[in-house]
Symmetry: C2
Subunit: 255 residues, 2 copies
């Protein structure tokens, strides 16, 4: 199994604090050492970093921990291989283009014998169940909406149906973003927190690191962090219900 | 206009020496300071780094210059914006998936009013003529070969036709790779060199940096470097002919 981290904000924010705790689970405080990855939206563009090394041993992860890349939507993943060998092409998140937007996807779980027909333009490059599910998901969205980018009110029920269908084949915790919203589906384990004014101090569970968010924010900032297991012990995280799809926009869940 | 750098090898090789000279043109020895990017194939996977900062000022470029990422196919680009604003989504190289492979593309030149109909699955995310041409190129390949990955002997003449067609609309120097071969099309300016046994010392034109390749290679290694303007003054570079498409496999041009 793996772990997921996502961030959705109303203003571009760096993820150094959360990623530092999360990456420590990639080989030190936890055993997710078969690769890692992170994708940051910046406008319509995406910065995408993947590595098959453990996050705790990766020079690219060190760069992410030291270099404040600001983004409104971030998805990260640390991998414990279940299906697909340890290789760059099997590291999450995966990125594809649909409707002139990049879509970023990461999965935690294990789908059993889930290989639906892929007769659209999306094919997996690697050998994970996760990338197959992502290709299927985009293919089905494209079949449903054609060449037209749907509005969020149309997209959300379509994703609810699709994630439910895929989740019937195994464990399917996942995060998906097109840079305007972050969709998070919980099968077994996912938590979130919304940090907003008045901001307080947070202390990581996996590293001896604290940050006083009131010193680095403005009263208008709002940041949602979504993660497999809570990153801090001194804050209140909300656990997703199994089967729940939440949509985060501008730093908060809208449904 | 921009500049292009490509590398194709028979064994995974790092590009630190060539990239160090090339990146210096991204704001110091030349004026290509509207962003840069580089993509490395590793197996079927791709490491993709883009930045809208000048290469000489980018912490990610510093990482590439200090961290030996080994690859058999690399494409890099430094940007001087002609069409499309300075933004992450307009930085080359671009990456898309076709036939279960990633395709990496970068362009140097300027296409005038070239907006052919895009009725396939590929749409530009940014606003450059280059990404539009890339989407068209993949669309046309997919129309021609359907869902089947063609062999190189089929793909090459198809790319010859397509690059010729696109080049009739403006300047179209470009590099394209799927990780198994590197295709380079010259409209106006492109050079290459094949380094192989017996290896010698090379000295960069843009930085005071030399490397004695005989100390860092084995007699079986072969590396082709393709670039807009030669990177060294003490080696013999071959200039492409205008209109020429060369295909590099295992460190040498095969046609």
């Amino acid at each position: 199994m793996c772990q997921l981290l996502g961030m959705n904000c109303n203003v571009p924010t760096d993820i150094i604090f959360s990623f530092t705790g999360f990456a420590t689970r990639g080989g030190r405080t936890d055993h997710h050492n078969d690769g890692w990855g992170i994708a940051f939206f910046e406008g319509n563009g995406v910065r995408h970093f993947v590595d098959y090394q453990a996050a705790v041993a990766s020079p690219i992860a060190d760069l992410i921990k030291s270099c404040p890349i600001k983004s409104k939507n971030v998805i990260s993943h640390i991998r414990k291989a279940t299906q697909g060998r340890v290789a760059l092409e099997n590291c999450h998140p995966f990125v594809r283009e649909l409707w002139g937007r990049y879509w970023v996807f990461a999965h935690n779980g294990d789908l059993k014998n889930f290989m639906p027909t892929l007769d659209g333009p999306y094919r997996p490059v690697g050998t994970t169940d996760s990338e197959w599910a992502f290709c299927y998901l985009l293919q089905q969205l494209r079949k449903r909406f054609g060449d037209r980018l749907p509005v969020l009110a149309e997209l959300t029920p379509a994703l609810q149906e699709l994630t439910e269908e895929i989740a019937s084949h195994g464990v399917f915790n996942m995060m998906l973003s097109d840079g305007s919203a972050l969709f998070a589906h919980c099968a077994t384990n996912l938590h979130y927190i919304v940090r907003q004014y008045p901001f307080a101090e947070a202390h990581l569970s996996d590293e001896d690191l604290s940050v006083d968010f009131s010193q680095v924010t403005t009263p208008n900032d709002r940041v949602a962090v979504i993660v497999t297991e809570p990153l801090t012990a001194n804050e209140v995280w909300t656990q997703f219900k199994p089967g729940e799809l939440k949509v985060f926009v501008d730093g908060m869940p809208i449904e």
